[in-house]
Symmetry: C2
């Protein structure tokens, strides 16, 4: 398991395939002002939150309003052998949206209808452009909620495509566990359903989970059915600071090993607390912090909180600060979610290279602490946040995009971290996906046999390689 060479990472292979005028003419005739070739629109659809800046934008953007329209675009693209790239709100961190082989961006953000709330079954079916906040607004009156929360107000389509998770995953699982069924437009432009609303099924290959996390390379997601959960009777959130990252991590490890059904347990290091305080006008102690949330009946929440406090105290944690009102909780989690933006703003003009390793919980301290030491020694500013209950954490190395040496330093740190995580039986990506940035890492992690299997599936389902080509692996 050799570490891949870092050189290729921020210079993706660009292979501009031709987009014939005839296709653009046909799309314009069909979609009128909903097919745009304006540079500003194309540029907006040719980038995301990743640190890639040098890829030309797609040739056109089609704003689709229905599954049928997506199917029409894909059918045309298939005839002309032109790539299509689905676009939601552009919150990818891994270059998923970049037109590295040119082509057409299919913007599904206007497909934002909540199609069916089946409250009594705890399911909801939405169009792919519905965002997680919009979804939670829509189901609020039913007493249910959708827990997956990657921070950004991402679309359900994008979250499915990247197998997203976030702060609540420690208790509620990821998109892998929460998507029941999808509607997908395949590479030939056919519309296919991958499952039913039944909670479980053994009926054939698990096409739903094959599509979840396929990053647009196997089809365009046009409908998503997900699980909902009853709003907990009681919710309590708390902040606890620790004398060291180590103490915070060991507290987390014990919580998980004891099977406490904690809903959120997030690490922020001291430096990131400083950034968050400045950005969100908070006064959190500038020490490593665990942000936690407990869900359940009042008795169960009390019990969980007491046990966790005991563990934390034993490991040197300071007094818990509780946030029991919805407003106080919102303030807390908004601050957490803004950590990324707080960090970006702390170094004007910078971009972040975000790591995403995830390791078995017993290896978390080993993986994290060595990487902190390396990052500190490098001198590069960074933020550090972690869904530590899942063994997943993110360093964001803040670099001047015009500084080759800062890029090189960031890549070296990322590299050493991934190598360490893989050695500890972890993964290079807990929740962001592979995109452009982790192709080498994936090969190291999964091995050539498994990646060959992925390629074989891709080639069989997308023989002209038009579905978001150049992502996950090269063909």
């Amino acid at each position: 398991m050799n570490a891949p060479t870092p050189s290729t990472h921020l210079a993706p292979t660009i292979l501009q395939r031709e987009v014939p005028d005839a296709l653009l003419t046909t799309l314009k005739a069909r979609f009128a002002e909903r097919c745009s070739t304006a540079l500003v629109v194309r540029e907006q659809h040719g980038r995301d939150e990743s640190a890639f800046t040098t890829v030309p934008p797609p040739a056109a953007v089609v704003f689709a309003l229905s599954t049928q329209e997506v199917a029409e675009v894909v059918t045309l693209a298939s005839q002309y052998r032109v790539p299509v790239i689905p676009f939601g709100v552009g919150s990818s961190l891994e270059g998923h949206l970049l037109a590295v082989q040119g082509g057409i961006s299919i913007d599904v953000s206007r497909m934002n209808q909540v199609l069916a709330i089946n409250a009594e079954d705890l399911t909801v079916t939405v169009q792919p452009g519905v965002t997680r906040k919009q979804l939670n607004e829509a189901v609020k009156s039913t007493g249910l909620f959708f827990p997956i929360d990657p921070g950004a107000d991402a679309t359900l389509g994008g979250m499915s495509a990247t197998r997203a998770s976030g702060t609540n995953a420690v208790r509620y699982g990821t998109m892998r566990e929460n998507v029941l069924a999808l509607e997908v437009v395949t590479a030939s432009g056919e519309i296919t359903r991958t499952g039913t609303r039944a909670k479980k099924s053994s009926a054939g290959y698990d096409l739903t989970r094959l599509m979840v996390g396929s990053e647009g390379t196997l089809g365009v997601i046009t409908e998503v059915t997900v699980k909902l959960y009853p709003l907990p009777e009681a919710i309590s959130a708390a902040v606890c600071s620790f004398p060291s990252i180590e103490a915070a991590v060991h507290t987390t490890i014990q919580i998980i090993q004891m099977g406490i059904p904690i809903a959120r347990v997030e690490l922020i290091d001291a430096n990131t607390v400083r950034m968050v305080n400045a950005h969100s006008k908070l006064t959190l102690r500038e020490e490593p912090q665990l942000l936690m949330e407990f869900h359940g009946s009042p008795a169960s929440v009390k019990e969980q909180a007491e046990t966790v406090q005991e563990i934390a105290t034993e490991l040197g944690g300071n007094a818990f600060e509780w946030a029991t009102t919805p407003e106080a909780r919102t303030r807390l989690w908004t601050a957490r979610h803004n950590a990324y933006f707080a960090a970006i703003q702390s170094k004007p003009g910078c971009r972040a290279i975000s790591t995403d390793t995830c390791v078995p919980i017993s290896r978390l301290a080993d993986c994290l602490l060595d990487s902190v030491a390396e990052a500190d020694a490098s001198g590069l500013p960074y933020f550090l946040v972690g869904h530590v209950g899942d063994g997943n954490f993110h360093f964001g190395y803040l670099l001047d995009p015009d500084s080759p040496s800062e890029r090189a330093t960031a890549e070296q740190l990322n590299h050493a971290l991934v190598a360490r995580a893989l050695k500890l039986e972890g993964t290079c990506s807990g929740e962001h996906g592979v995109g452009l940035h982790k192709m080498d890492f994936l090969l190291t992690e999964a091995g050539s046999g498994a990646v060959a299997m992925m390629r074989t599936i891709k080639q069989a389902l997308d023989p002209h390689n038009i579905m978001n080509p150049g992502k996950i692996f090269t063909l």
Copy 2:
């Protein structure tokens, strides 16, 4: 969505492909007495718990001891274009193990080592022949357990291959949610890993979940890493009888809709209680029963039990009978698990055709009650048990295998039930798999587009169609 014609169901297409003598000679030379062509051994490996009785056995059985040996057999089979069928303990209910295209049975039951217990990470890695009871024995001293419990003492390999679940799935999920990673021998005889021990991952296509439920048609599973859970601090089991199936089902629906984290909620109808009482020497009231189990802290178990009792009482449930000692609980669940055998023994010489529909919980009463009325009207004896918390239940129609009219009646009932479940947005198979018996149902449920996608994947990964061919769909 037309119901498929029942005629094909119990007469699988048999297409005996040639097994060259040269292959048998090579296997015998390599594996000596661990390669058997004795009729009794072959026959034992050419059947399962399904109602299929007319398929010739495989040409030979190889008892593999290692992944390497499985790979050797598959490599040879690939060279000779001969089917291979993985075999664990033979508890399939859907004909998965039948050699409908001839070939070699690879018995992995001697690959029964627990390879790595990572208690601090709540994971364990086992060989495919380890059974669920053996696994729970092996991890007992760690204070952890593996919850998936399909009734039969199935192997982890077989449970993975069929995406099994069972009585605890309502709380802990199915094999879909609980397998972290697999080692698989692919159709070309290569050994591939599909994941790491990280709790979550967005690193490429979800090969693990593609393999889980693929019924041996994409590869032979040679290692399984699954999640473990802390043994609950408190466990309480209870039986409650109801004046009608309807009342029991509505109680279940309310429990689920309220989000009570019940660990087990199983329905047994009055007639099946009679069979179970006779078989297990119990004195359960001969009325529809819910068998329940609660896991958690003492306070949480008490709280769950109280809420459930309130719901049940309101819907006419009788006093709960509690089983709090391990012995009493074991007696209860053993009785439940023996329902199948109790039923089979109630009609000497019979075979059961087991249904396996699963519907969204709000549709459960509709689906179940109409099917009970139809089964009663048919005059065919049956048992009825259900993992009702998941919307999944099984009728077992008891038929004389030599009576074409009983077979026809059973198939018609199964048929009407599946058509009803699909109309209610459910699935034809909650946990048993498609095998030979549900190929038409799968086509109706998933549609020709989705099944074509499955076929395309199969053909790409297994171009000579040697991996358990003739199951799930025809090629």
